[in-house]
Every structure is written in structure tokens, then in C-alpha cells.
Subunit: 427 residues, 2 copies
Amino acid sequence: MTGQPTDANVSEREAVLEAARRAREAAVDLAARTRADKDAALGAMAAALEARTVEIVTANAKDVERARAAGTSDAIIDRLRLDDQRVRAMAAGLRDIAGLTDPVGEVVRGYTLPNGLELRQVRVPFGVVGIIYEARPNVTADAAGLCVKSGNAVLLRGSSSARESNTAIVAVLRDALVATGLPADAIQLVPGEGHDAAKHLMRARGLVDVLIPRGGASLIRSVVEESTVPVIETGVGNCHVYVDADADLDMALTILLNAKTQRPSVCNAAETVLVHADVADAFLPRALSALREAGVTVHGDERVQAYDPAVVPATEDDWYTEYLSLDIAARVVGSLDEACEHIRRYGSGHTEAIVTRSQEAARRFIQRVDSAAVVVNASTRFTDGGEFGFGAEIGISTQKLHARGPMGLPELTSTKYVLVGEGQVRG
Amino acid sequence: MTGQPTDANVSEREAVLEAARRAREAAVDLAARTRADKDAALGAMAAALEARTVEIVTANAKDVERARAAGTSDAIIDRLRLDDQRVRAMAAGLRDIAGLTDPVGEVVRGYTLPNGLELRQVRVPFGVVGIIYEARPNVTADAAGLCVKSGNAVLLRGSSSARESNTAIVAVLRDALVATGLPADAIQLVPGEGHDAAKHLMRARGLVDVLIPRGGASLIRSVVEESTVPVIETGVGNCHVYVDADADLDMALTILLNAKTQRPSVCNAAETVLVHADVADAFLPRALSALREAGVTVHGDERVQAYDPAVVPATEDDWYTEYLSLDIAARVVGSLDEACEHIRRYGSGHTEAIVTRSQEAARRFIQRVDSAAVVVNASTRFTDGGEFGFGAEIGISTQKLHARGPMGLPELTSTKYVLVGEGQVRG
């Protein structure tokens, strides 16, 4: 908010807070629902998306048209676009969520205290979850489904470029909730446009229990800086592959190519390769040639450049960069500890892999690398809720508080202690 | 920070950030230490406190003198004062911590993925923990001990009223670390005085992993508002006792008196009693008389006032108040749901108790009250790390993210995923 609040932004703020208050009421209802109730709602939400595909695709066409008029790139328009198949995929996603175990009510620990009090720590919903996300409108259904299943009301703040699509999807999902007896206000779009509306959401401490930003680094930084609501940071992945002195070099090459090229636009793709000096002569010529063939531009330090004139000189910035493209930074290191120091200094704490045959090197790397996932002899691409067997994922946390790494349904819950006695008092 | 940074506060900021950077270095070392190393350090810390008691008590005398000159109340001076016995108690606390299980390295879950990758989720230290706390200097040793045991470096920001005491204690503890081969910078006081120094700590995102404020409501509010470092909110307890229509009234009276009067200055003491209308006639005359005899002032609604002229009329503010004194708010409610609504509206989410013989009422109260602890037929005073069997407590979290309720050693850790394969890549 710039300067004094005007009537317009006071009332926008009030609209956001009012939505949050309605979400809190809905959350009280939702928290008491059985798994059967919630799964029935998810089934109805899926069926309604399919039944009303035309309405959703028509709304989406307006967003696509607007984006095209604004000169948006084809790649982004492709992410924005919905068709019959993509709506069916959204519905299938909701049915998959219905099939997952309900985290609510799980007893995390329980025992009887010496005085006879029975103690249980039980999973409960957070209450109200805020999700701030960019372009892809399928996140709307996905996030809403995960929140309903975990007993949370959700406030969705999508990209303004997907406004029509999100509005249509949320209308369909709310109707489905009501049809199965759940409160419509368990799923709401945050009212208002522009940064102010998002800011009101970020300052709704006490009404919103947690905010999860999903998107690029600048979105996440702004939420972390401005929010007084607790935030779970997600997704920025400057992932490293370290090729140890004791690496199986064939395996290292396979892993490096997979980590970089199998899907370069995602957060668990590799962005830097570090090669131990002892195997640089044996590994780098092959690796640089294979990367070049795969269309990858290598940004290397001087020692890497010496192997191949096609290597672009790396700047200090390259070590920090999450390219999300067919680019990779490359550096020769003198030791495993030097690799760990590089990762600590430049990494984002997402996923780092070591390729080695040495038990001692693996152990030391695991211990000294402080990231959400540390991988030995496999691709960085495995850090993913689906691959981990979580069935669904709301994001990948790169912070250390509450959840770290892929977040499934249990990570969308808190706990409470329940103590049952027969009149115990403290002496 | 008011206005433009001056040279003085730029350098103060740099001093705080430099301390945080040294803490990060120390944390890398500490994270790799075995339980044996850490327990040896805790033993040395305890022995050093005992051996250097005179030095600590002498420093404390200066704080006490300064507080007295400033007209500080006797109650606060008593909390500030250290003597031989209190220093011995600090040492005993450190030895107790050495006896607790090391949370680091615990495998929280582990299984093999369909592709043969072995997945483990393992507890690891946060890294650098900041603690902002008020008066009592024993917190300095206690918090340092819990952080060392959980493998975290700690930045301690105590009250300026305990400056001499805290400086002496930290000097002793750092010497003990060095004597056992651990890095001194694992335990540091935040350099600088006044609010600015605390603010620099709150903005040291990326260097400090988590901030835990311990103190009154205004301290906690200011940390929550100003911090960009993730915060764990602790300790404000506006706890309720609800006497249900089906309560055993003798039990209800015993629990109410214990919850209010056994130690009124702590966060798990009761601050409001809610009485079901059906038992108001039978319960309130006895309860009001017993409370009066115990020296408690009752702030009641009109229906409570009707039973006893000594009842002070309750204002809207009373329902929100954490008295921490021999005062209690009292209200007659028409139903269990009305009690739950009152708690949702005015409570702080710490601990609420129901007294009832009805299984249905207990179940509904547990489900509808969203607090860190919900107690059936026992005193609110049991919400405590010691009572829960945690052995030690860094505080009681009233937030839903990461930790809720009493926080022991595991709550001072994060986790990471370790994946071990034999060359797996994604298809």
C-alpha cells in the first residue's frame, strides 16, 4: 500500500479480511468432517469439472485472448491454455486425492503420563491456508483439492492473467461443495486485483494460518518479505551434481544428462556440475561433448573452459543462477569439502547429488550438505512428491521450519495435544 | 531503525550479521558432532558454571544494583537475582540436557521406492537459532544447552537489564566449549544494545534459521511483526476451564482452583471459567466462595454477578486478558458450542480444559476447540514440557507451523531427505 489508505483500498482490504473470516467459519465446519464426507466432495468436484468443461474452456479462451493481445510468449500461453483433456486431467487429479489417506486424526505420538493422564498428539488441519501462485490454472483445482482433503479452507490468489479461468473453476468447485453439504466458503478466490489484494492477504495474521507461495523467485521473495502470516517458502532450486574422485564416470554422465536435460524447466533440474580435479581429465571432455550434443550451453570456470572452446566463461552470478533452461554452470573443485563449501555458498538448499563409489565420501557429503534432499548416485530429478510416493504435492519447501522438501497432505496439517484424565491436578 | 542509517547503526548491523556468519560456520561444525561430543561439552559447561560461580554472581550483583537504582519492583529483581543455589540449578539443568536422547540423526521415516532408491527422512539441526528473551538470566544457560544438544549454534539476545549476568555466563560457556574442542561461536550474545540490535537479528534471513521469542505478549508481537526470519511464537496463554452440564462438580472445583491458583504467573494457568447454565446454580455459589477464600478476584458477566456481590463486572477486555495474577474472568454459557465459540473468539490457542462425565461432550469439545492442548478432566497446568516427559522445554508454541505446544529437543530440529541409489535416473 502506498501512502495513506484511500477509500478504495480500505474497502478492498475489508473485502479480503471478510473473505478470510468466512474461510475461518468454513474451516471450523470442515475440520469436523469425516474422510467419507471429504472424499464425496472431491468426487463431486471432479464430476462437476467434467460436466462443466465448456464453461471453463470458454472462460479460459478469454484469458488466452487477453494474453495474446498483450504479446505474451507462446510458452506462457501454452501453460495458461485449458482444453477438454486438461480439464479431465484436473478432475483425475481430484479423484487421486480422494484416494489418499486422510492425514487428519492421525495420532503422531501417544502415551500415558506417570500421573495417569493419557496424552495423544493428533494431526489437525491448519484452518485457513492461503496459496499465491502464478499462471497455470490447473493449480486452482489441485490446491483446492489438497486443502479440502486435509480439512483446510483455502484462499486462492492466482495470477491476474488467469482471472477468468480461475473464477470459472472456483465457481464450479464451490457448487460441488454445496451439493455435498460442505460450506462453499471452504474454497474462495481472494477478492481484488493487483499487489494490494495480495498484500492484504499477507497481513491477515490471525485469520490466515499459513501462506504458501508457488512461483518464481521474485514472487516468493516478496511474500517472505511482506507477510506477517507464517510462510512456507517453496520451489527455488539451484541444484548441484558433484562428480567425486571415486565416481563411476559412466554413471556420472548418465545422471548429469538426466538431471540437466530430462526436464530443464523444473526446480529439481541440475543447474551446476562440480567435478573433482582428479577425474576432470577423464570426465570433462566426454561430459562437455555429450552436453553440447544435448543442446546444453556450459558456463564454466577457467579449468572447464580449457577442455572445450564452446564453454562460455562463468561469472560469479552463474553460480547463483537457477537457469530453468538448457544451460549449466560447471566448475572443477579440489576436494569434496570444496564442493560442499560451493554448495553452501551458492545453493538454494533444494537438492544436491553426489556420484561416488566411496562410502566415506557419500557419508561426508550427506552430513555436510544442508539441503532439503541429498542424493547419492541418482538424479536430482527424484525430489518430487509423486516420486516419493506422497501421491500429491502442494510444493517443495526449501525452508527448514515445519516442512522441508516435497510437501504432501500431512505437511498441510498441524497437531494438537489431547490430554484425558480423571481429575488430575498439579501438586 | 528510525530514519536513515547512521554510521553507528550501520556498523551495529554489520556486527550482528558478522556474529550470525560466525554462528553459521560454527553450526556446520556442530552439525557433524556425535552425541558423545555434545554431552561432553554440556558436562564441561555445567562444571565451568559451578567453578566460576563467584564471577557470575559478582556480575549479576551489578545488574541487580542497576535495577534497584532504576526503581525496579522487588518481584522482577527476584527473577533477575543469581546466587550459588541458582547457579547450581543452571548447571544441573545442563546435566539433565546431556542425559536426554539426541534428536539429530533420528530417521523419521524411511522406505525403498519402486525404482530401488532408498529414501530416509532424517532429523538435522536447524543451523542457527536466535532466542530473544526477557529478564531471567538462567534462560541463557538453558537455551544454550538445548541448542548445543540439538546441534544448533545460538544467538542469544537477553534483556539489557541482565547484560552483565548474561555476558559472564556466556563467557564461561564459550570457554567450556573450547576446552572440549567445540567452536566457541556456537554460543554468542547478539552484539549491541537497544531495539536496533534485535531488529538486525530479526532481519538476518538466510543467516539465522529460526527466531524464538520468549517473554510477554508485546515482545512476541514485535518479533512477529518485524521479523523476516521464520519465527516460532510462544507462550501467551489465555486458558479456559469449561464446566459442562454433565460435570462432576467436586472435580470441577478442584481443577478450577488448581488451574487458577497453583501458580498464577505462568502461561498455562486458567484465566477464564465458563459454566454451563444447567449447573450454574449448583456450581457457582461454591466456586465463587472458594475462589474468594483463595484470594481470587472474579470478573463476571451479569449472571455470575447475581451469585455474589464481590464479583467485579467483566468488560469485553476481560475476556481477552491473560491476567497472570489472582484474577479470573467468569461467564455462564447456554451450551457447549457457546463455550467453544467463546474460546475461539477470545482464546490465545494455548490450553483449554473441559470438565465432564459425558463422552459425547468431551469428544465434541476436543474436536471444536483449536488450541495447542485440549484437556479433559484435568488441570490446564499440565501443558508443560517437563510434565509431558520431554525432559526440557525451549518454550510453548501457540502457533500452528512446525511446533505446537511444549517444544522439546526434536522441535529444535529440521529434517532432510537422503536418497541412495545405484545410478537411477528419471524416465
